[in-house]
């Protein structure tokens, strides 16, 4: 990575002050309660992993945060400066981009369509081209600029989508099992990139993953979700919990530091929130 790029990359250091608060969020579809009174408080500079069995409502929670699914409860984002609730920029990397592989859509089109008013069928200017190249360089994908989306490998596509989610740099980054169908090397590369992001930028990350070994290695905090929040804590605490072990089996915690944390708990974030602001 060039020095210039590095500077841009670091433009906002994690401040630890801004936060996203989810209060009493519930999603009901028909007679089924999919999410039941979820309370969660997420600080910037943290990678929060969301784990839970299939159908636990993990993807639904992300979609509710995005506003794609109607829900009750409150979502607020507070920035470090004003402390007032503002509309955060949310970056989103979908689970699996179900798109038509035959579509004549290149990576550059994708960036221009999200970042420019000028319709992409009229062509894309040099400035946008440079901007997109620059953004792709972050995820080591600048060579993919003119490739069709349908011609990318799974890992390449996920890196492109990550670069897209980071342009503009979001306050909250939502990753919905971003690496399903990605090979081993691509997986490491992706997690290293995400892991670097949270230390070098002022953003919070929520990650859904089934790869619990990687979660244990990279996450700062793990949320065990099954309709409601069952447990929140460091990977060390959560993966030693009997209920988690019952659901997932034993996870190897080799190399994971037993980071100290008071007690894993069903957290009432209201109090802590008051203290921090």
């Amino acid at each position: 990575m060039t020095e210039e790029l590095r500077k841009d990359y670091n433009h906002r250091q994690a401040c630890g002050l801004c936060c996203t608060t989810i209060e009493e969020l519930s999603v009901v579809r028909g007679k089924n309660v999919i999410l039941d009174h979820v309370n969660l408080h997420i600080h910037c500079g943290e990678l929060t992993a969301l784990i839970g069995p299939n159908g636990a409502g993990k993807s639904t929670l992300l979609k509710a945060i995005l506003g794609d699914i109607s829900h009750s409860g409150r979502l607020s984002y507070l920035n470090a400066i004003g402390g007032d609730s503002v509309k955060p920029i949310i970056g989103y990397v979908p689970q699996q981009l179900e798109f038509d592989p035959g579509s004549p859509l290149c990576v550059l089109d994708l960036f221009a369509a999200t970042r420019r008013r000028r319709p992409v069928w009229l062509g894309i200017g040099q400035r946008m081209r440079r901007h997109a190249t620059h953004q792709l360089a972050r995820v080591q994908a600048e060579h993919l600029l003119n490739r069709r989306l349908g011609d990318l490998s799974g890992g390449e596509l996920q890196r492109v989508l990550l670069a897209l989610a980071l342009d503009p740099m979001p306050d909250l980054l939502l990753l919905d099992e971003p690496v399903s169908g990605v090979d081993g090397r691509g997986l490491e590369l992706f997690y290293d990139l995400v892991s670097d992001l949270r230390t070098q930028n002022d953003l919070s990350i929520i990650l859904i993953s089934h790869d619990l070994g990687l979660v244990a290695r990279y996450a700062d905090r793990v949320v065990f979700l099954n309709q409601s929040i069952r447990l929140v804590g460091t990977p060390y605490v959560v993966f030693n919990d009997p209920e988690v072990i019952k659901t997932f089996g034993l996870i190897s915690l080799e190399g994971v530091p037993p980071r100290p944390e008071p007690v894993a708990q069903k957290i009432e974030w209201g109090d802590e929130h008051a203290k921090r602001h």
């Binding site: 989103y92 981009l97 038509d100 579509s103 550059l108 089109d109 992409v120 069928w121 069709r148």
Partner: protein, 280 residues
Amino acid sequence: MQSAINVLQWLLPFEWMQYHFMQNALLGVIMVCPLFGLMGTMVVNNRMAFFSDAIGHSALTGIALGVLLGMRDPLGAMIAFSILLALGISLIKQSARSSPDTIIGVFSSTAVALGIVILSRGGGFARYANFLIGDLLSIQQREILLLLGLLAAVLIFWLFFFNGLLMVSINSTLARSRGARVQALEIAFGLLLALVVTVCIQWVGILIISSLLVLPAAAARNLASNMRQYHVWSLLIALVSGVSGLILSYYWDTASGATIVLCAAVVFFLTVLGRSLQRG
């Protein structure tokens, strides 16, 4: 409009260009084909071929309603009904659990059956058969102006909303995360498509109207590697098949709409062949 005709006569100094109906038909083709080439790119991207087919078929009910209301030109009733149907399909699609195919199928079959029942009362359906095939040669000058207005409306929509529409066609949740108004865009596009299809039915014909939407864009997909090329090819293929189809229909004495679709189909199969040769 006369100057446009003069330019065309100079460009195409053929015997058939002396006839007024051919002059008008050519102008009509030059409006309709870009319209369909443009809309087609998104119809194919959004997999809305079946939707446009359903809108086309439902025109029968629109005509029937027009007849029941005693209208001489049923276009108003056709437009009103197709817009209602497009709105109904979009709204139900967003809340229902059945697949969009099923919902569209249910609506479309009901509308077609209703239209046929009303129109065939007393055995007079044959009178309306020209809507099935379409008659481009009957196009009038004021209708060409109407088409020009429609083309302008689609172009304006394409200028301001294409990027959002493209995001929605890729992934709606992703589009939402970028601030696109997903539902509004989907509904607006559905309504515009319904309007374009319904207005053009009298010239292109119910049976083949969705082919004219799909073929140029589908052929363009085989040639393009980005959105700009996609549009350029789709417009070009639509226009070339339109003009050559119209000329061929004059010499062969065939229905012009179907001849145009056949030309577009030939282009499509050529692109498929070219692509497989290139890969093979």
